[in-house]
C-alpha cells in the first residue's frame, strides 16, 4: 500500500498517494496530541478518510527527553476507505532522540523521517539512553530513510524574534512549525488550524500570533528552502455522500447516551469516578447541563454505580462509566441491578490489565468479566463498539435494550476506539430508533396489590417510579417471590427466578440483528470472527487477502451476550474459524463452549491493536495449516 517513492530526487515533485500514515512523536510537553489532532481534523475537513491512534504515557509529565515521556499521535489519511491507523508509517516526525528511539522501527523503508535537531544534542541522546558517542542520525542506522534534519527550535526562535515572548514560550510553538511544514508537504490548507488557534488563544493575542507565525514559517520553510524534494497529493475520499463530522469514541459514547435518554423521554444521570481512559465521557457529558444532563462525580466506583442505580430507580436513565479496575469494583452493585431488574448502562472502556496494568494502552481483556464477572447467576446483555463512530450506535442500542428490557447492559469500548477518531456521517435525530420507556401508573392486578415482578411476554417486568400514587412497593437485593416481588427464601422460587432472569436476557437475542458476513462470502474457507475494536484491522486484512485471491470472510459481533440467534449456524458454514482478540482468547472460549466448533484463537496482549500485516500472515498460515 505504500505509495511513497522518493527516489526521484526531483525538486518539488508532486506525487499522488492513496493513503499516507504520519506519526507525530515527541515529548509529552511537545504538543504532539494537539498537532496530530489538527492535522487529522484538517484532513477530514478536506474530505479525506482518516483513522487515528493517539498513544500517550500514563505519567502526566514523565522526565523531559526520556523514553517514558514519549507521546505519539498516528494518523492514516487517504482517498480510499481507511479502517485502521496503519501498521507502519510513511512519515515520522521525531521531536527528540527518545521519540526516534521509540518509533523508528515502524517507519517504512524509504519513508520520510523529519527530526528536530535540537532534540539530538548530547543531553537528549543521553536522556534517551543512547550509548556515549552514538547518534542515530549519524551512525548509518537511518540510511534506509529519507531524513530531513531541521533545527526547528532555532527556526521558531528566529521567526518569533520580534514577538516579545520569552525563550520558553517561543519554544512552545515548535509543534506549530512542524505542523505548518507537514501542511505544505501534503498540500493542505492552514485555514482550519489558523481558525482553531485564533479561537483558542483569543484572550492572549501574543500567544495566538506566535502560534500562527510559527505555523506559517513552517509552511514557508517547506516552500522556500528547496530542502524537500517531494510534495504529496492525496485526493479526497470517495466516501458515501452526506454531511460528516470528526468524532472520537468517547465523544460518540457521550452523545449516544444523550440521544438515547432524550428519545426515551427521561433524564440522563451519569454517576462516575474518573479513570483512564473513560474520563472523557464524564467530561463531555458534564458540559450538557443546559440539556438537563446530571453528572455526578462520585466518591468512588461503587458510589458511582450505586448512584446510577438510584437514579434509574427514580426514573432516569442511570449510567456509569469506567474501565476494567472500576468494573471489578462495581460487580456487587451490578448484581443488585440484575436482581432488581432496573435499566442501567455500564460503560467499560477497557485498558491493559490486570490491576492498574497499562492504563493508557488498549486491550479487550474484560470480555469474560463483563459477561460473567459477578457473584451468583447474574446475566446481562453485553455490546461492543467496533470503531470510534460506532460507539454512538452501540451505546444507543445498549440504552435501548436496558430501558425496554429492564436490565443492566454493559457497553464495551476500549482505549483504542475511545481515543481514536474517524469521520462520521452522523444521523438525523429523527431517524434514530425510537426507545419505548413506559412507566406504569395503575395497578396491573385488578384484584389486589400491584405486582412489580409480573412479566410481559418478553419476560420483562413493569417499570414504575416512586411518586406514583397507589403503587407503593419495595424492591431490593434479597430474592423475590415471582410476581409480588416480596422477599422469598423458597428454594423452588429461587430457581424459577434465576431462570426467569436468564431467559429475559437470552430473549434480547430476538430484538437484535442476526449475525452476517461483513466482508467476503458465506461458507468461505476461513472466517475471521472479531468483536469490538479489531474491526478495522480485520476488515482491511480480509479485503486485502480477498484481493490477493484468498477465500476469506469477516464476521464481526456487536452483541457478545446474547449471541445473535444464527451465529452458530453461520460459523458452521466455514471450514475454519479464526478469532483474533487483544486478550488470551476469551471470545474463542465462549464460541467453542457454546457451538462446539474448533475455532482457533489468535491472541495479542501488547497493549496495541493488531497490525494488518500480522493478521494477514496469521490468516494465511491458518488457511494453509491442516
Amino acid at each position: 500500500m505504500n505509495t511513497l517513492d522518493l527516489k526521484s530526487g526531483k525538486v518539488t515533485d508532486v506525487r499522488e498517494a492513496e493513503n499516507i500514515v504520519v506519526r507525530f512523536s515527541g515529548d509529552s510537553g511537545d504538543g504532539m496530541q494537539l498537532t496530530g489532532t489538527q492535522f487529522t481534523d484538517t484532513s477530514a475537513f478536506l474530505g479525506q478518510d482518516i483513522s487515528t491512534f493517539p498513544e500517550f504515557p500514563a505519567e502526566i509529565r514523565a522526565p523531559i527527553g526520556t523514553v517514558a515521556g514519549v507521546s505519539g499521535f498516528q494518523v492514516n489519511f487517504g482517498s480510499k476507505e481507511i479502517f485502521t491507523p496503519g501498521d507502519m508509517y510513511d512519515v515520522l516526525v521525531a521531536m527528540n532522540s527518545a521519540a526516534l528511539k521509540t518509533d523508528i522501527h515502524k517507519l517504512k523503508k524509504g519513508g520520510i523521517l523529519i527530526v528536530n535537531l535540537a532534540g539530538f544534542d548530547k543531553k537528549n541522546l543521553k536522556l534517551a539512553h543512547y550509548p556515549e558517542g552514538i547518534n542515530p542520525l549519524e551512525d548509518g542506522s537511518t540510511d534506509d530513510f529519507i531524513v530531513y534534519k531541521i533545527d526547528v527550535t532555532r527556526h521558531v526562535k528566529d521567526a518569533l524574534a520580534t514577538s516579545g515572548l520569552g525563550n520558553k514560550e517561543m519554544e512552545r510553538s515548535k509543534n506549530m512549525f512542524v505542523l505548518g511544514l507537514l501542511f505544505w508537504m501534503f498540500d493542505k490548507s492552514m485555514d482550519y488550524t489558523i481558525g482553531f488557534i485564533s479561537d483558542k488563544f483569543k484572550k492572549v493575542p501574543d500567544v495566538m500570533n506566535a502560534n500562527i507565525t510559527a505555523l506559517k514559517s513552517g509552511w514557508n520553510f517547506g516552500d522556500n528552502t528547496e530542502v524537500f524534494k517531494t510534495r504529496f497529493k492525496v485526493d479526497v475520499a470517495k466516501l458515501s455522500p452526506g454531511v460528516y463530522r470528526q468524532i472520537t469514541g468517547n465523544h460518540a459514547t457521550a452523545i449516544g447516551l444523550i440521544c438515547a435518554a432524550e428519545k426515551a423521554g427521561i433524564q440522563l444521570f451519569l454517576g462516575s469516578y474518573p479513570i483512564t481512559p473513560a474520563s472523557d465521557i464524564l467530561h463531555e457529558l458534564s458540559k450538557y447541563r443546559g440539556n438537563g444532563v446530571k453528572t455526578f462525580q462520585a466518591e468512588d466506583e461503587i458510589a458511582a454505580i450505586c448512584s446510577a442505580i438510584g437514579a434509574s430507580y427514580a426514573g432516569a436513565l442511570g449510567v456509569t462509566t469506567t474501565s476494567g479496575p472500576g468494573l471489578s469494583l462495581k460487580g456487587e452493585a451490578m448484581g443488585l441491578a440484575v436482581i432488581t431488574e432496573i435499566p442501567l448502562v455500564i460503560v467499560d472502556v477497557q485498558r491493559g490489565g490486570p490491576s492498574t496494568g497499562l492504563p493508557t494502552k488498549t486491550e479487550q481483556s474484560d470480555l469474560l468479566q463483563a459477561i460473567y464477572g459477578r457473584h451468583g447467576e447474574a446475566p446481562m446483555p453485553v455490546i461492543a463498539a467496533s470503531t470510534p463512530a460506532d460507539c454512538f450506535q452501540a451505546v444507543y442500542e445498549a440504552a435501548r435494550i436496558a430501558i425496554e428490557h429492564m436490565t443492566p447492559v454493559i457497553f464495551l469500548s476500549d482505549g483504542y476506539v475511545a481515543n481514536g477518531s474517524e469521520p462520521w456521517k452522523f444521523p438525523n435525530a429523527d431517524n434514530l430508533t425510537p426507545i419505548n420507556c413506559t412507566f406504569v401508573t395503575e395497578s396491573n392486578n385488578p384484584d389486589g396489590k400491584f405486582l412489580p415482578y409480573k412479566r410481559d411476554d418478553r419476560g420483562v417486568r413493569p417499570r414504575t417510579k416512586p411518586g406514583t400514587p397507589g403503587l407503593e412497593h419495595r424492591i431490593g437485593g434479597l430474592e423475590k417471590q415471582d410476581e409480588t416481588g416480596n422477599v422469598s427464601y423458597d428454594s423452588v422460587n429461587h430457581e424459577k427466578m434465576t431462570h426467569l432472569r436468564a431467559n429475559k436476557v437470552d430473549r434480547v437475542a430476538d430484538f437484535i440483528p442476526p449475525a452476517k458476513v461483513d466482508t467476503g462470502k458465506e461458507k468461505a474457507k476461513i472466517c475471521i470472527l472479531g468483536w469490538g475494536s479489531t474491526y478495522g484491522a480485520i476488515k482491511t486484512a480480509t479485503l486485502e487477502l480477498i484481493a490477493e485471491g484468498h477465500d476469506v470472510a469477516h464476521v464481526h459481533l456487536r452483541w457478545v451476550n446474547p449471541f445473535p440467534r444464527n451465529l452458530g449456524e453461520l460459523l458452521k458454514g466455514f471450514d475454519k474459524v479464526l478469532i483474533p482478540e487483544m486478550n488470551m482468547g476469551q471470545l474463542c472460549s465462549l464460541i467453542r463452549a457454546k457451538y462446539l466448533i474448533p475455532a482457533e484463537s489468535y491472541s495479542k496482549v501488547q497493549g496495541l491493536p493488531f497490525a494488518v500485516d500480522e493478521l494477514k500472515s496469521k490468516i494465511v498460515e491458518t488457511l494453509n495449516s491442516k
Binding site: 444521570f269 454517576g271 440539556n291 438510584g310 437514579a311 435525530a429 407503593e472 419495595r474
Partner: protein, 344 residues
C-alpha cells in the same frame, strides 16, 4: 392556615404499615423505631407516594420492607450512594435512609462522609447497637474497646468511632442522637430532622437483645437514666441528675460538671446553642465510658443545625442557569457538533 380543606382523610400510622411480617428478634429496639416513624409520618405534609426508604444491609435495613411506602433495600454500605442518585434525579421525593452502625460507619464509611458534605435533603436514621447483628455477633467500629464478641474472644483492641464527631467533621448540617426506649424523644427528633432541609443525621441507640443486650442500659433504665443522660434543648441550660441537681458549665472550652447549689446557679450553666458548631463539637465529644469515675453524661437531642444549600438545589439551580444562558441544544446540533463537511 386552618381554612385549607383537606380532601383526603388524614393518614394514620396504620397507613404506613406494610403487609409484610416483621421479622426482627423479640425485644429488638428496631420495633420501637419503626413504630415511632409510622406514628410521626401522618403529621408531615408529604404525599404518601413521595416517601422513599433506602436501606443498606443489616437488621436495621430490613426496615424498608415494613413501611408501606416506596422502598429500596440495597447492598451493604451503599444506601447513601443509592439515595443520592434518587434525590438528584427527583428532588420532590422525601427520602429516608435507614442504616446500622456497621453499614454506615464500617463498610459504608466512605459514602457516609461524602453524603454529609454534599448535604442532600435526606433523613438518615442510623440504628446503633454497637454490634453486628445479622452476621451474628461480631464487634462493630462503634463497639467499645475491649468488647468480647464472636470475632474478639480476647476482647477488641479497636478504638471506636464517635459517630457524631465523624458527622460533624464531615460537615453534616444536622446532627442528633436519640434512644429506642424513649418514644417521645424519638418522635420529637424525627420531626426536627424532617423540618431540616439537608442531610439530617440521627443516631439512635438501639438495643440488640441477642448479641449486645443492655449495652445502653445506663441511658435507658430508670435508676441510672437521669444521672447518665443529658437531654439537650436549644436555648436551655444543661441540667441533669436524679433531682435535676447537676449541670454542665464551660470552663473556657472545657466542659465541667457542677452541682447546682449556692455556688453554681442554673444561670451559670452552659446554654445549648445548636447553631454553634464549636460548642456542638464539644458536646459531641462527651463520649465517656460509664465505667470511668467521674465521667460526663451522654447528651441526647439535636446537637447541631446549619442552613446550607442542598446538593440537589444547587444542581437544579445550575441547570436552570446554564439553560437560561445557553439554552437547550437540539439533538441535531449535538449530533453535528461545531464543524461539519459535505461529501457530494
Amino acid at each position: 392556615m386552618s381554612d385549607i380543606i383537606s380532601l383526603a382523610p388524614k393518614k394514620t400510622a396504620k397507613d404506613f404499615v406494610s403487609d409484610q411480617e416483621v421479622k426482627w428478634c423479640p425485644g429488638c429496639g428496631d420495633y420501637s423505631i419503626l413504630s415511632q416513624v409510622q406514628k410521626v409520618f401522618p403529621d408531615f405534609d408529604v404525599k404518601k407516594e413521595n416517601y422513599v426508604f433506602i436501606s443498606g444491609i443489616g437488621c436495621s435495613s430490613r426496615f424498608t420492607y415494613y413501611m408501606d411506602t416506596y422502598g429500596f433495600h440495597s447492598i451493604h454500605g451503599r444506601a447513601a450512594a443509592v439515595a443520592s442518585g434518587v434525590k438528584a434525579t427527583n428532588p420532590e421525593l422525601d427520602v429516608w435512609l435507614i442504616s446500622g452502625d456497621g453499614d454506615s460507619i464500617s463498610i459504608g464509611g466512605n459514602h457516609f462522609i461524602h453524603l454529609m458534605r454534599r448535604n442532600f435533603n435526606i433523613k438518615y436514621l442510623m440504628f446503633n447497637n454497637e454490634i453486628y447483628g445479622l452476621t451474628k455477633g461480631q464487634y462493630s467500629p462503634l463497639s467499645q474497646k475491649g468488647i468480647v464478641a464472636k470475632s474478639t474472644p480476647y476482647g477488641s483492641v479497636d478504638e471506636p468511632f464517635n459517630p457524631l464527631e465523624l458527622a460533624l467533621g464531615a460537615k453534616s448540617t444536622f446532627v442528633a442522637r436519640s434512644l429506642d426506649r424513649d418514644p417521645k424523644h424519638q418522635q420529637m427528633i424525627f420531626k426536627r430532622a424532617h423540618e431540616h432541609k439537608g442531610t439530617a443525621f440521627v443516631e439512635i441507640y438501639q438495643n440488640c437483645p441477642v448479641f449486645n443486650d443492655e449495652v445502653f442500659s445506663p441511658y435507658t433504665e430508670k435508676d441510672s437514666k437521669r444521672e447518665e443522660c443529658l437531654f439537650i434543648e436549644h436555648g436551655m441550660p444543661m441540667v441533669f441528675g436524679n433531682n435535676n441537681d447537676k449541670g454542665l458549665k464551660l470552663d473556657g472550652l472545657k466542659p465541667v460538671i457542677v452541682n447546682i447549689d449556692s455556688t453554681n446557679s442554673i444561670n451559670d450553666l452552659w446554654i445549648h446553642d445548636e447553631r454553634d458548631k464549636t460548642k456542638a463539637s464539644l458536646l459531641a465529644g462527651l463520649f465517656d465510658n460509664v465505667s470511668l469515675i467521674p465521667h460526663n453524661p451522654r447528651p441526647f437531642g439535636v446537637f447541631y443545625v446549619e442552613d446550607r444549600p442542598t446538593y440537589e438545589d444547587d444542581l437544579t439551580a445550575q441547570i436552570a442557569a446554564v439553560t437560561a444562558k445557553k439554552g437547550k441544544t437540539s439533538l441535531d446540533k449535538i449530533l453535528s457538533g461545531e464543524k461539519t463537511w459535505i461529501i457530494a
